[in-house]
């Protein structure tokens, strides 16, 4: 691994904004401040997205609102010869655990409960930390942001499980599985939290420090 900074000289890292530049977040090329679209890849250039936090909170709220019915309504409707069984996300996982499938129950609980809840907390924490202008633990917060961005898609596992089960288990009168109302809310919740994480402008994590230390780097 090579680090971009010249080794040996402990020079302070300057942001493109401090240098009077605006950088493309898609192809990493800098342009003079005020340029509107990147001349290389055509992406819109915004030095700091002032509305970013508003969008984060809007998507976050919708995601959280969808997450509640996703846990209240049944995720799967299982019909066997003599009974109809409705199970919610957590109910289904508990049932699996009772049958001894601890591993799968754990995966479901992890992907559908721990990850979504963790994401709501993490995104709120990141947005608040930027809003309140925290100076500390930038590296840790940036790492948290990357984890949230990476892990968001994995919550879709449960939706795919429902899709596979309800297409596969259609055995006429014997047994059938159908998707419950919760599945659409759960999918929406995952999509909106992914959008919330994408709307977050991670460059703002590092701005507070620059402001705090003042413009003492060049005249």
């Amino acid at each position: 691994m090579v680090s971009m900074a010249v080794s040996g000289t402990p020079e302070k890292i300057l942001s493109a904004r401090e240098l009077g530049l605006v950088a493309c977040t898609r192809c990493a090329k800098p342009w003079p401040m005020g340029t509107e679209t990147c001349g290389r890849c055509g992406h819109n250039l915004i030095s700091r997205d002032e509305l970013s936090l508003q969008r984060v909170w809007a998507y976050w709220t919708v995601g959280l609102m969808c997450y509640i019915p996703a846990n209240v309504y049944p995720m799967l409707l299982t019909r066997t010869l003599f009974q109809v069984d409705e199970s919610t996300i957590i109910g289904g996982a508990i049932e699996l655990a009772q049958y001894g499938n601890w591993g799968i129950a754990f995966i479901i609980l992890f992907a559908s409960v721990a990850i979504p809840l963790g994401k709501f907390f993490a995104v709120a924490y990141l947005a608040l930390s930027v809003q309140l202008g925290w100076v500390t633990s930038q590296r840790r917060r940036h790492y948290l942001y990357e984890v949230v961005e990476y892990i968001g898609r994995w919550s879709m596992i449960d939706i795919f499980v429902v899709a596979i089960l309800s297409s596969l288990v259609q055995l006429k009168t014997l047994a059938s599985i159908n998707p419950g109302t919760a599945s659409i809310f759960f999918a929406l919740s995952v999509i909106f939290t992914m959008l919330a994480a994408q709307a977050f402008d991670s460059r703002m994590i590092w701005d507070a420090q620059a402001k705090d230390e003042g413009p003492n780097h060049h005249d």
Binding site: M4, L19, T25, I164, S167, L168, H218
Partner: protein, 214 residues
Amino acid sequence: MDHAATPLADLPLDELIVCPQCDATYRLRRPKHGERATCSRCHTALITPRRNAGLQIIAVALAVLVLILGATVFPFLRIDAAGTSNAVSILDAALAFGGPMILLSLATAALIVFIPLLRVMLTLYVLIPVVLDRPPARHAIPAFRLSEGLRPWSMAEVFAIGCAVALVKVADLADVEFGPAFYMFGALVVLVIAQDRFLCKWSVWQSLEHPKKS
């Protein structure tokens, strides 16, 4: 070409690179093949060149294309219980949400089949001319931008884990047989991940910006 003493502010813009994640600005230094240039502040990988990466990605992308088409057409899973049986393809699985949830069906089909398919076709469209040292294809730049923008929405590997979970759930209810599409999809997941690993975005943008004259 030694600008080591020049302050960043005085360097031409072509010799700077800015971390897209944290806005740190660096003097551009091209790493050797196999090395990775990372942001020293947030450790985002900035440039990750590999020898013959272009050819490798094209080969992998062609394989992915064939596998996606195959995995969609052939039967995926088949279930047997007490004389009744049911076989489904991947598209059947994606389209399982009927009635008012048809939108969810379309979204699922897009996430597991159509977005990965579109991304692999865009990759081939952009990279083949670049690797053959020809001028870039028409609209190659928006095509690559779209491909990068769709990256988080391509969920083939998530679907694969979903399969594993679903199989365990069904296993005690009925016998499950794997169709050819099941193994194709398994291979597909590995290749899609490899394809994203090999790709150095910065190098692609650089070669789209400065195409070699042939």
